[in-house]
């Protein structure tokens, strides 16, 4: 059972890959830059999903994939033009297919109505094409003279005996094109074998000598005797895809009451039944003698299974792609932790050597330098293992844009850049939500309606660009649109109305733009269900900050806006400011710090008995003595003469933290406190400094929230720490 679950899991993993291919291919087709190979790849992706789904009896998935595949086959055959309408249907179908895969994976229910609607839409496309249906065995002429010299092949395992059934004699002689299009006779025969009592004979007479053998050719023929309760249409349906590329003859030999079970047949054939309506396509190409394709692998293998080689030859880049292995994530994480420790150890060693007073030119120092270089390289290498390209994330966004364009009536194209940029997978996972929100924002608020755009002299189709790039040890992700830009006048009015700023406040353009990040700010005039659900850009900003990143905004009226995020490449390290408080060393996350200052006596004002505030940019920020709050000292230090860190919290209120001194600004490796202890309020994690001692990393949000709640709670904390 466990192995089955594992295989199933592998199937779904492969589905993910196939869906990715599918989307890439469809997008290329939409842009009109697709060659026949792309179309084939798209077809193959859907076909593989269908095949795998069949093996796991995921009937719903099979049914839809089959319909989808049928339409794609029409495109592949050149009978269905890749018009924008068609491509939109195809992309939507791909989305639905992805949803069905996801639903099957988690055994969730599926919106049947949506599936049916999409199937109907796909069928409508196929209907248009099959105006001129041909006989099922059209183009058969070429191979008429074939005589069979049967080779018996008993496939007992597959047989399922049906009691009351008709006998069919089926003759199948594939043409090379059948394999070239990615079909496989073995699969067809297997399907047949499932229908009832089955006997197959293979005709190998036409296999030439090896020197004359074209590895891409097709030389086998099959004769099948099938006793089944399925009707003839079901058999025809099985050959639906190959009927143009083979000689097919289905003769009914009514040995039993063949027609009687007809009533039960539709039930058995149910999953793919809707397709019976579209039996055959226009068949312009008669089976031609094999034409060689260059670069074919192992000729010997092809004799037995020509289709295999066909597939291999069809995608040469797959063979050339790099070999990969699947590794348990836990192992990678452990390795990363170990290397983190190695780095700390190395730093400690360096410090000790320095303390020992050894000359920089000494051999010890030189060896240490080499060690440092090596550890750094090891660390980078190990981090790279967990790094993943942002491509899958970006692909998800293109789906969102598609759904939005359908919902809003705007015409928007998503252009992506730098998809190969790699970043730690933990970052990628937590980037999806904020990025989705920003993309929605760009389409919903950024890009104008087509008529507005045209009036402004811009093309009706708007463009949202999503790009990723590495810049000085961080990843920068930009979301830009070519829309109207930020309406600063309106932003200002809303901010005043919502009392976020004073009516007479003098703000620069940049400051107005940044008002978008204020909590409770939402510029949508009506609250749509697309964006503006009471959460706004402030949530985006907060999630980016939680990742140790920063977000900035730039906008030009009439030309669009650019939101750019700068994020660390990994969550295992953090940029922090090392500060000293009451003889304890603490690390404050750099992303939270707005500014640092040394207050003058006039800046600090008492408020009530205990509370003090500091004037900061026209407002007042509460002063929090970090040492007192954490219980390191009983009395608050005098802010004058101390250093004040102005930080911004989750709720975007500013707070001024009083510390004794700033030591350093550096990257620290994050260490869990929970692993051996438990969560400590106000503390995010711990780290180990160069001297080997543990330093705590402040969690600004919970720290400040706690201070606000327990103004007088410090006494008990003091008692606790002693």
């Amino acid at each position: 059972m466990d192995t089955m679950a594992a295989i199933r899991e592998t199937f779904f993993q492969e589905c993910e890959e196939q869906l990715g291919e599918l989307e890439v291919g469809l997008n290329a087709m939409e842009e009109g830059v697709a060659d026949s190979e792309t179309v084939n790849a798209v077809f193959r992706a859907v076909h593989s999903i269908k095949g795998g789904a069949g093996a796991f009896k995921l009937d719903r998935l099979v049914r839809f994939a089959h319909t989808f595949e049928t339409s794609l086959d029409l495109i592949r055959a050149g009978q269905l033009a890749t018009s924008p309408t068609v491509m939109r249907t195809m992309l939507r179908s791909a989305d639905l297919l992805a949803d069905l895969v996801k639903a099957s994976r988690s055994d969730h229910p599926v919106d049947e109505a949506r599936v049916d609607a999409q199937i109907a839409e796909l069928k409508a496309l196929s209907e248009d094409v099959k105006e001129a249906p041909t006989e099922a065995n059209a183009g058969g002429g070429g191979a008429d003279g074939l005589d069979f010299q049967p080779v018996l092949l008993q496939l007992d395992d597959f047989g399922e005996t049906e009691p009351q059934a008709a006998r069919y004699a089926i003759k199948l002689i594939p043409a090379p094109d059948l394999y070239r299009k990615g079909n496989e006779t073995v699969r067809l025969l297997r399907e047949l074998s499932r229908m009832g009592e089955f006997r197959v004979e293979c005709d190998t007479r036409h296999v030439p000598m090896l020197d004359a053998l074209d590895p891409e050719g097709a030389y086998f023929g099959w004769r099948v005797e099938l006793t089944t309760s399925e009707d003839e249409a079901a058999i025809h349906e099985l050959f639906e895809f190959v009927v143009d590329d083979c000689e097919l003859e289905i003769v009914v030999d009514r040995a039993g009451p063949a027609v009687a079970p007809e009533a039960s047949a539709p039930a058995a054939a149910e999953p793919i039944a809707p397709l019976v309506a579209a039996p055959a396509f226009v068949a312009p190409v008669a089976p031609a003698p094999a034409e060689p394709i260059e670069a074919v692998a192992a000729a010997t293998a092809t004799v037995v299974e020509p289709d295999k080689a066909k597939v291999e030859a069809a995608k040469p880049d797959a063979a050339a792609s790099l070999a990969t292995i699947r590794v348990d994530l836990e192992r990678v994480d452990r390795l990363i932790n170990l290397v983190g420790e190695l780095v700390i150890n190395q730093a400690m060693l360096s410090q000790r050597v320095l303390e020992a007073g050894l000359a920089r030119s000494s051999s010890v120092a030189a060896g240490l330098g080499a060690l440092e270089q090596l550890t750094r390289e090891i660390q980078e290498g190990v981090m790279a293992i967990r790094a993943q390209p942002v491509k899958p994330l970006f692909q998800r966004m293109s789906r969102i844009v598609r759904e939005l364009t359908d919902a809003t009536g705007k015409i928007v194209r998503l252009r992506t850049e730098g998809e190969a940029t790699e970043v730690d997978r933990t970052v990628i996972e937590r980037l999806a939500d904020p990025l989705t929100h920003m993309i929605r924002n760009a389409v919903d608020h950024g890009v104008e309606r087509p008529e507005v755009r045209e009036a402004a002299g811009k093309p009706a189709q708007g463009e949202v660009k999503l790009s990723a790039a590495h810049r000085s040890g961080r990843i920068v992700i930009e979301v830009s649109d070519d829309g109207a830009g930020i309406n600063r006048q309106r932003v200002r009015e809303i901010a005043i109305k919502k009392e976020l700023i004073a009516p007479d406040a003098q703000l620069t353009d940049g400051e107005i733009d940044n008002l978008l990040f204020m909590p409770g700010f939402s510029t949508a005039q009506t609250v749509s269900n697309i964006s503006g659900r009471g959460v706004g850009m402030d949530v985006v900003k907060r999630s980016i900050q939680a990742l140790g990143g920063r977000i900035t905004i730039a906008s030009r009226p009439g030309h669009g806006s650019i939101f750019s995020m700068s994020l660390p490449l990994t969550l295992a390290v953090l940029d922090g400011m090392v500060v000293k408080v009451a003889d304890q060393t603490l690390v404050v996350p750099l992303t939270a710090i707005v500014e640092t200052l040394r207050p003058k006596a006039g800046d600090v004002h008492a408020l009530g008995v205990n509370a003090r505030v500091i004037s900061d940019r026209g407002g007042f920020a509460p002063l929090i003595d970090v040492g007192q709050e954490l219980g390191y000292r009983r009395d608050a230090a005098d802010p004058v003469g101390s250093v004040v860190l102005v930080v911004e919290t989750e709720v975007s209120t500013r707070c001024a933290l009083v510390v004794d001194a700033i030591h350093d600004q550096r990257q620290v490796v994050i260490k869990s406190l929970e692993a051996n202890y438990r969560q400590v309020p106000g503390i995010a994690a711990a780290t180990i400094l160069g001297d080997g001692r543990v330093a705590l990393i402040l969690d600004i949000d919970t720290f400040v929230a706690r201070t606000n709640r327990s103004g007088a709670g410090q006494e008990s904390l003091l008692a606790a720490v002693g």
Binding site: N345, Q584, N676, Y677, I688, A720, V721, G722
Partner: protein, 154 residues
């Protein structure tokens, strides 16, 4: 960690250590290593017996002052004190004691129940006593040494 109370049969080894003038011991199987005292980084909002955290080869290790935990005066930590690194469940913690005194090989028959004179609080850690060569050694059960999160929050 119920080995002490379960009659597993056969001799087992215990590490004995001193807290002040009294002697205690723990099952050697839960001991990972013994190391000297290094200054700990104080943890805010921690119970008094948690002296802070130290760096144990890259892991953050909380240090429990066993004396204070058992209700004795706080240990005056210096380089003379030792930290016994033990595994309790999935966590690794350090126990601050005055000195390691002995390794004892015992069978469960040697362990006598804790006399009723002891308070319930002491009994929650000291699951039995040993009498060897005129010495009395308390057998400490590690499960209760670190409070659970909910208890600590109270």
């Amino acid at each position: 960690m119920n080995e002490v109370s379960v009659a597993a049969g056969g001799p087992r080894e215990f590490i004995a250590f001193r807290i002040g003038v009294q002697e205690f011991c723990i099952d050697i199987m839960s001991v990972r290593e013994i190391r000297g005292w290094t200054p700990a980084t104080a943890l805010p909002h921690a119970p008094a017996y948690v002296r802070g955290v130290i760096n144990l080869r890259g892991s953050v290790l909380p240090i429990v002052d066993l004396a204070e935990r058992l209700g004795f005066p706080q240990t005056d930590a210096s380089a003379r004190q030792v930290i016994i690194v033990v595994q309790v469940g999935a966590q690794i913690i350090g126990l601050l004691v005055d000195a390691v005194s002995d390794i004892l090989t015992l069978t469960t028959e040697n362990i006598q129940p804790t006399p009723d004179v002891a308070s319930d609080f002491v009994k929650s850690f000291v699951r039995g006593i040993l009498a060897i060569d005129g010495r009395m050694i308390g057998v400490i059960e590690l499960d209760g040494v670190m409070l659970s999160e909910t208890e600590a929050a109270a």
